[in-house]
């Protein structure tokens, strides 16, 4: 569905991206202030987990992304905001290898990335949820979350057929981990319910569970609170903060609700018509003239 691309891969560029310049914001402190965690913020040295450099992506004539550069520091919650059609979802699709940009470089964990398939991004530690819930509808909550362990379960088909000894131990071991995820998200009561029968808010929660079961280093959340009521939004915000703080998972979050963005995120990237128009702390971004004109000033869906 997308054009053949060859990502420019100059060795020098690799070094440049790997040594991405230190950013002058302090995520840990900002967030502590943001949602009032109260704990003394540790001024952790910031290591770049993901660096996006000059990425451009077009679909025929539609320029979904134009020369976008930003980085995500290890351990932070990074918000990506912008009006509809700004290219936010496309950006996530580029990060997890689903779209292949015509230009630009992406380095994950300091390694410049080649063109790859999405399952490879998953193996590298990138998990994701979708704007429109993408659960396996014919399966139960438990089975959906268990699929998140797919990469970690290795016993072959013959062991599976026997379902005995090592295969059974493996299954139970991962089941135990998944039960922790289920407890964490407070969805014990729908464990055995086919997800197709669940209300939307719970489906989003199950989808987060599936991503968490992957124990990712980088979690991409595409509008995790879209279509939720206030209470559900609060629950989801709490889960996101807890994931970030308890497991140290780095999170990239697309969200329209500015209140949520202010509360949750350490830093914000603002996209408009495929271009990056601002990048900084929530306060900085909110005060930015271009952001107000492009996004905050006009009411959004």
């Amino acid at each position: 569905m997308n054009a053949e691309v060859t990502t420019a891969e100059a060795p020098a560029a690799a070094a440049a991206v790997a040594d991405a310049p230190e950013n002058d914001t302090a995520p840990a402190e900002e967030r502590a202030a943001g949602h009032g965690a109260g704990a003394a913020p540790a001024p952790a040295p910031k290591e770049t987990l993901l660096a996006v450099e000059d990425v451009s992506l077009a679909f025929g004539g539609v320029k979904a992304l134009q020369n976008v550069s930003f980085d995500i520091a290890k351990g932070e919650i990074r918000a990506i905001i912008g009006p509809n059609g700004a290219g936010k979802t496309s950006m996530l699709n580029v990060i997890n290898g689903f779209y292949h940009p015509q230009e630009g470089r992406i380095a994950f964990k300091g390694q410049l990335r080649r063109r790859m398939r999405p399952h490879f991004a998953a193996a590298q530690g990138i998990a994701r949820t979708f704007q429109n819930v993408a659960l396996f509808r014919g399966m139960t909550t438990l089975d959906n979350i268990m699929t998140g362990r797919a990469l970690k379960m290795r016993r072959g088909i013959l062991w599976q057929a026997l379902h005995w000894g090592p295969a059974r131990r493996e299954e139970l071991e991962h089941r135990e981990f998944v039960e922790h995820v289920i407890d964490f998200l407070e969805i014990e009561h729908i464990r055995k319910t086919p997800v197709g029968r669940l209300p939307y808010g719970l489906q989003k929660r199950v989808e987060l569970g599936r991503a968490l079961a992957m124990e990712p280093d980088l979690l991409l959340l595409d509008e995790p609170m879209a279509g939720m009521n206030l209470e559900e939004k609060e629950d989801m915000s709490r889960f996101i903060i807890d994931v970030n703080e308890q497991f140290g998972t780095t999170i990239a979050l697309i969200e329209h609700d500015m209140g949520v963005v202010m509360d949750l995120s350490d830093r914000v990237v603002v996209l408009d018509h495929g271009e990056k128009i601002a990048d900084g702390t929530p306060e900085e971004v909110q005060a930015d003239r271009r952001v107000i004109d492009a996004y905050l000033g006009v009411p959004n869906d």
Partner: protein, 358 residues
């Protein structure tokens, strides 16, 4: 309450993972197996074995195989007839080429050869889906059947073009050929089907089964959590073809005793097995058994009622069968894609609450 799930607390995940977590289900299965192994062999006769038991068990195995591919992994196939033929012709070549070979080894190898062929014909599934994949498997069906008809090596150059099973023993009992013992034919078939059905159930509830279902339900999301689409689909093709290959080998060697490519394994077989899983239930192992029972028993039942009971013509009974099948397939496709297996489950849920429905 006759039958209950609520209130039965599982003490461990191990108990919760069991195939039949509810004791009543376990007792029922144990009862069925006890009758199938301990009673039926002593009361069966030739008619029962040939008309009901063998076709039921062998088609159930084929249906379980197709269900792995279509019901669990979501890849539609119309090549079942051809894969049955590959199993049948493989077993024939093995039996005639290596007369000393143990029959269990023959069946296993026939399954493996069919798995390899299935793998090959599964390759297009990376690129094509749904209707187009069905057409590709249809092409495989016609090509393979044509091959068995055209290349005399497959039927050992005999003049009739048919393959006929040579007499073989298993553990000292005559299993194949005209002098085969009905109880032996039945017990061997039953044992193989029972073991493979259990294995299918195990695969389906493990991570391989979840990967199949993930690909079926949403292949893009599956890939983004690290499931490799091609590898997963090919595995489904291989395992499914293995099952169908073993079924084909048993159909030829134990049940029919003779076969002729297009006559025995034509496109009608592909459709019949597909109907079995639609009516029995897509994506369940139980569905294979229910669907096979239904399609094997339906013509016998109609014949008994319409022809022998009401004195109508055989032709008429045949038409009634087709009309009934057609309506049932439409019903199940539209109203209840999980087939008889799901209706059975709903009945159980009702029983669970009985006599206090909420």
């Amino acid at each position: 309450m006759l039958y209950r799930e609520a209130g039965q607390f599982k003490t461990s995940y191990a108990a919760d993972q069991a195939i039949f977590p509810i004791p009543q289900d376990r007792y029922m299965l144990a009862g069925i197996l006890a009758i199938a192994f301990g009673v039926v062999p002593f009361v069966l006769n030739d008619y029962w074995v040939n008309a009901i038991l063998l076709p039921f068990l062998i088609y159930a195995l084929a249906a379980i195989g197709l269900n792995i591919l279509t019901g669990y992994c979501g890849q539609v196939s119309l090549g079942t007839g051809a894969f049955l033929a590959v199993g049948a012709y493989s077993s024939y070549k093995l039996m005639t080429g290596f007369p000393e070979m143990n029959m269990l080894v023959v069946f296993a190898l026939a399954g493996l050869i069919t798995a390899a062929v299935g793998l090959l014909f599964g390759l297009p599934s990376l690129r094509i889906k749904g209707f187009y994949l069905a057409v590709a498997t249809l092409a495989a069906q016609f090509f393979i059947i044509w091959l068995f008809y055209k290349v005399p090596w497959f039927f050992n150059y005999n003049a009739t073009g048919q393959i006929t099973v040579p007499p073989r023993d298993l553990f000292g009992f005559r299993l194949t050929g005209p002098e085969a013992v009905p109880a032996v034919r039945y017990l061997v078939t039953l044992s193989i089907v029972a073991v493979l059905a259990l294995a299918a159930k195990n695969m389906a509830r493990g991570h391989v089964g979840r990967a199949w279902m993930a690909i079926r339900d949403m292949d893009i999301a599956a890939e983004l959590i690290g499931i490799r689409p091609l590898r997963t689909k090919l595995l489904a093709f291989a395992v499914s073809s293995f099952y169908i290959g073993v079924a084909g080998a048993m159909m030829f060697a134990i049940y029919l005793g003779a076969a002729e490519s297009g006559e025995t394994f034509g496109i009608q077989q592909s459709f019949d097995v597909l109907f079995m899983i639609i009516i029995g239930g897509l994506g369940t192992v139980l569905g294979g058994f229910l669907g096979a029972a239904f399609l094997v028993l339906l013509p016998i039942g109609l014949e008994a009622v319409l022809v022998e009971g009401l004195g109508l013509s055989t032709n008429f009974a045949e038409h009634v069968k087709l009309i009934l099948l057609g309506s049932l397939i439409i019903f199940f496709l539209i109203v209840e894609p999980h087939g008889l297996a799901r209706l059975w489950q709903i009945t159980k849920e009702k029983l669970r609450l009985w006599p206090f429905p909420h």
